[in-house]
Amino acid sequence: MREGARGQLSLSVVEAGVGVLFVVAVASAFAFGTPAGGVGERAQLDAYAEDAATVLANEPPQHGDATRLAEVAASEDSFERERAALERRVDRILPDNLMFRVRTPHGAVGHVRPSNAAVGVARVPTGNGPVTVWVWYA
């Protein structure tokens, strides 16, 4: 019987390999997991969304109602009438490196929200339901 050749891979080396894997797993958490400095991306995006919503909420309407937001949220008709103007206005207000979506009770304008990027959000209640603004980096 020449079984000696089979036993050469030492069990202690295998154990050590498994042990090193565990230790490296812990190490990787430290390598990737610490927060970076600077204002957080989400905080900045939330601020942009909040600002866009505040500006719209304080702007005069194109036709009726008290403010621009109240106007677009008022009815299907007024939303359809204002949707192009609303999209243009939000596009002008926000910096060029941002994409946006605005949802009113009667429909939404803007781009489709990405599922894999940080998105800032702001909600403004109006008399006819909430208006939500999402922004993200283009």
């Binding site: 190490a27 997991g33 204002v39 601020a47 500006v55």
Partner: protein
């Protein structure tokens, strides 16, 4: 015999591997903890200062997120006592610094979207060609009405609300408060046809431009 002997260097190598990787991990963890900013004062200061500047009652504000151009031109005086003490601060509007204290190298920057409003006075003298009414631009918060001698206007209504009334005839200049949420039509009540040019309406007109306000704090 030969098999058992081969295990001793293997054990030594195994221990060496584990000890080396543990040492590397502890070193990595140590530097991560040392480098982590557990108290990001700069971020908080930049975010809260920017919040303060765009608030409706902020030092430069006309309304929420609307800054007054005159106040921005005078920023260094207006912002005294608002900016965080003992930190280098830079406030920019569309990239142009409007205020710099200290020399912030790096630090945290918070950006906000604002409108800059330039308020100017405009006057119009209605000719009363189609009735004794004048419609002001929407969002006019107030107006000054000046009546010339012999204007013979006894009352002025703003959207059916009487704002001025004098049976003997209005004379001189009057300030009237108007609703910012309606488009206001002023109607002049006179004995006869109002004479063109007998009334001057001056009101505050505001033009806004968009800008990005940046607050950099280096604590």
């Amino acid at each position: 015999m030969t098999r058992a002997q081969a295990n001793l260097p293997a054990l030594a190598i195994a221990l060496l591997l584990v000890v080396a990787s543990v040492a590397a991990t502890v070193g990595l963890a140590g530097s991560a903890f040392a480098g982590a900013d557990t108290d990001p004062a700069e971020d908080r200061l930049a975010a809260s200062t920017a919040d303060r500047l765009v608030a409706a009652d902020g030092p430069l504000s006309v309304r929420a997120n609307v800054l007054s151009e005159a106040a921005v031109a005078n920023a260094s005086e207006r912002l005294e006592g608002v900016l965080p003490a003992d930190a280098a601060v830079r406030v920019t509007l569309d990239g142009e610094p409007i205020l710099e204290r200290g020399d912030p190298a790096g630090g945290a920057t918070m950006r906000r979207v604002v409108l800059v409003a330039d308020a100017g006075q405009r006057a119009l003298t209605p000719t009363f060609e189609s009735g004794a009414t004048v419609t002001l631009p929407r969002r006019t918060g107030g107006a000054t009405l000046t009546f010339r001698d012999g204007a013979d206007v006894t009352a002025v209504r703003a959207n059916d609300r009487v704002v001025l009334h004098d049976e003997a005839g209005l004379d001189g200049a009057y300030d009237v408060e108007l609703s910012r949420y309606d488009t206001v039509t002023l109607a002049f009540a006179t004995e006869s046809e109002p004479a063109p040019g007998s009334v001057t309406v001056s009101y505050r007109a505001e033009t806004t431009t968009k800008a990005v306000l940046g607050v950099t704090v280096d604590a």
